[in-house]
């Protein structure tokens, strides 16, 4: 973009993004990139926003919090982009949101799910997904607590990555189960770079817990499951955040997936109107079905687009406040359903629960959207 002032009709709208294309978060980071690219292409194919084409300017922050700040600094201060949207992962969202905030920019983000994001007093931030991390398992908790007393799991083992998002999911569930008197027998936290899970697995296995809850991103979940399989541990229920929704999950754990649970904010089969278009065009563009990360990025784009269309402007300066105000006051229809936010930018929905059954992952909770019945206890893996 060449200066925020000019918004002549043939000037593209430049959207600045920093993404972890290398480093720890590179894999989900690429998913997010695809989502943004899909959004730009689909929107542009339909004539763009306010009649202007969308142009993405993507920088790589190397999964590094220092870099992500420098990137947004550059995008806003030097490249003078018209809009910015968020990077991947809570760890990078928090510092980058501050830059946007201090330049007065609207900041919709696809991956700052942990509650910390909403405790910073940001006024311009919005998380474009149905629920924050702590609420991901709400439907599962409801289901378990409604079981008859003799079927309810009595003991649970928790293992969570030391990461705001992963811990948020596991501990959200833990708080609810503990409150209902379900005992915690193992509570392990491991650093993000852990690769050897045999000791944690040994602890879990020896506790013989009825249920296992893993607060995982992806690979850590896989490693934990393999280590548990090596020790021949067979829980009645196993739930993991992140990992099981990944396309490579099944083969990674030797296809012994039957019964594994996972929360998700997105399903390609969801009935929302824009989702059909998204899935179809995404497939055409990338030759595969979109995943949660792609969908979240796409959702982010949808929210921004809605605000821009409503406010009738897209540039730095006063326009940004108009956009922020609009998002605060309105509900947006997205590929993950209708979204609205509280004052801190926290979405107000809940995640669905999926379960691996017969070699594919199906939505089992909540009742109204389920694709299959809940399998409990889960078969041996």
């Amino acid at each position: 973009g060449d200066g925020g002032g000019s918004d002549s009709a043939d000037d593209p709208i430049v959207v600045g993004i920093s993404l972890p294309l290398t480093g720890d978060f590179s894999e989900p980071g690429k998913g997010v990139q695809e989502g943004y690219e899909a959004w730009a292409k689909i929107t542009n194919d339909k004539g763009g926003l306010l009649g202007r084409q969308i142009e993405l300017k993507i920088l790589d922050d190397q999964s590094n919090a220092d870099r992500v700040v420098a990137d947004y600094e550059q995008l806003i201060g030097s490249d003078k982009v018209d809009l910015v949207v968020g990077p991947f992962s809570t760890r990078l969202v928090v510092p980058s949101a501050r830059v946007a905030e201090e330049y007065g920019m609207l900041f919709v983000e696809p991956a700052g799910a942990a509650k910390e994001v909403f405790e910073q007093g940001f006024k311009n931030l919005f998380y474009a997904a149905p629920a924050v991390a702590n609420d991901h398992y709400n439907h599962l908790a409801d289901y378990l607590l409604a079981l008859p007393a003799d079927q309810k799991p009595k003991t649970v083992a928790y293992a969570a990555m030391d990461d705001p998002f992963a811990q948020g999911t596991a501990y959200g569930l833990k708080a609810k189960l503990e409150a209902a008197g379900i005992r915690t027998v193992v509570d392990e936290v491991y650093p993000p770079n852990t690769t050897d899970f045999s000791s944690i697995a040994a602890k879990i296995a020896s506790s013989k817990a009825d249920m296992l809850v893993g607060g995982s991103q992806y690979q850590d979940g896989v490693n934990l499951i393999v280590a548990l399989q090596q020790l021949n541990y067979q829980p009645k229920l196993a739930a993991f955040s992140g990992a099981p929704t990944n396309p490579e999950f099944a083969s990674a754990i030797g296809n012994k997936t039957e019964g594994v649970l996972s929360p998700t904010g997105y399903s390609p089969d969801a009935p929302y109107e824009s989702n059909k278009e998204f899935v179809e065009k995404f497939k055409a563009q990338f030759g595969k079905e979109p995943e949660e990360d792609q969908a979240n990025a796409y959702t982010t784009g949808q929210v921004v687009a809605a605000a821009v269309t409503a406010a009738g402007c897209a540039e730095q300066g006063d326009c940004q406040q108009k956009l922020v105000d609009w998002v605060h006051g309105n509900k947006v229809e997205t590929v993950v359903g209708p979204l609205s936010w509280d004052a801190a930018g926290k979405p107000q929905g809940a995640h669905m629960i999926q379960q691996w059954q017969g070699g594919s992952i199906k939505i089992v909770l909540p009742e109204p959207v389920k694709e299959a019945g809940f399998l409990y206890p889960k078969p041996a893996w």
Binding site: L21, T22, G23, I58, L59, D60, Q62, N64, A65, D66, R67, V69, A70, E73, Q74, I76, G77, S78, D79, K80, R91, V94, P95, R98, V99, E102, Y103, A114, E116, Q120, D162, D163, P164, P191, P192
Partner: protein, 331 residues
């Protein structure tokens, strides 16, 4: 002089706040690598762990602001003092060993602090990170940058001044003797351990100041980035690249590496090849300019001058004796 003028006029010349913030990052690197050079340059103890000291400064400042409610800059000073104090036991342990063992200890320092700051979440915020309140809450971001630019410049000037004073002093000569041969220095009456410890503490203090100032400017702390070997090694790279025996070596190195990192990022933005480029740069320096850029330039100029002198005497023993005899007669 020229340099000072260039640094001071930078904020008004910087075309946009981003360039200014990049300038701050480079200045921060310059302060850090100059601080590193107190230990690395004088005593030859290569520490890959200075990133940890900066991290401690940052976390110290942040915790003093958030937990103890101290005003930002008081917290900064107190944190730097605390880190300097903490450097005494660290130095007592680490400086006992030389050479490669010291390198390993310094790496261990980073890793152990990383583990502590990650695990001790109730105090440090763990991997959730820690948010540092803004010292000047009312300030707009460009203004904020400008203020911090001058603060970093002042800190750099102070660090350079102290380095210069030590460099030309007897204390400095003693430190250099430690670098060359510690036992010999000791035998000549240099209290080598005390010297090393003092300079380590000074270095730690400056490093912590830089780290704390950075925390105040940046606002977010994450243990993974505060306690990283990579940061520590960038400092070494910069100091080495510029020339560790040179007052302005680390500064020059910070400029070159800082700009190079930006450039590589621009060139190879979407691939990890920027790591390769950094690695190659470091490798080239080690192989071809082990004394640094500034000395390399210096010797280039000298080579255009006269050729190196032989250390061999130019007079025969007989002539020498004649000469001596004459001198004796004179006396």
């Amino acid at each position: 002089m020229l340099l000072a003028a260039a640094v001071l006029s930078f904020p008004s010349l910087a075309p946009n706040p981003y360039i200014l913030s990049a300038g701050i990052v480079v200045l921060n690197y310059a302060v850090l690598s100059t601080s590193w050079n107190f230990v690395g340059g004088f005593t030859g103890y290569i520490s890959l762990g200075h990133g940890a000291l900066a991290g401690l400064g940052g976390y110290g400042t942040a915790l003093l602001v958030t937990k103890a409610g101290l005003p930002s800059f008081v917290a900064l000073a107190v944190a730097a003092l605390l880190v300097a104090l903490l450097a005494v036991p660290i130095g007592l342990a680490a400086l006992r060993v030389r050479g490669a063992s010291f390198v390993i200890v310094s790496i261990a320092l980073v890793l152990i602090l990383l583990l502590v700051f990650q695990s001790w979440a109730s105090f440090t915020g763990g991997s959730r990170g820690l948010v540092v309140p803004r010292p000047f809450p009312g300030l707009l971001r460009p203004e904020h940058h400008r203020v911090f630019f001058y603060l970093f410049a002042a800190l750099l000037a102070l660090a350079l001044l102290v380095w210069w004073v030590i460099d030309r002093s007897r204390f400095g000569l003693g430190l250099k003797a430690v670098r060359e041969d510690e036992d010999k220095a000791e035998a000549l009456g240099t209290p080598t351990f005390a010297y090393k410890l003092i300079v380590f503490v000074i270095s730690a203090g400056f490093t912590a100041l830089a780290g704390g100032l950075y925390a105040l400017w940046f606002g977010d702390l994450d243990p993974v980035f505060q306690f990283s070997i990579l940061t520590g090694s960038y400092l070494v790279l910069m100091a080495l690249l510029g020339g560790v025996r040179n007052l302005f070596g680390p500064l020059a190195g910070a400029l070159i590496v800082g700009v190079a990192l930006e450039y590589f990022k621009g060139q190879f933005g979407n691939t990890p090849l920027h790591l390769v480029a950094t690695g190659l740069l470091l490798g080239l320096v080690v192989m071809f300019m082990p004394d640094g850029v500034l000395p390399a330039i210096g010797s280039l100029f000298r080579r255009f001058g006269k050729s190196e002198q032989s250390s061999i005497r130019e007079v025969t023993a007989a002539e020498l004796q004649e000469e001596r005899k004459r001198e004796e007669v004179k006396q």
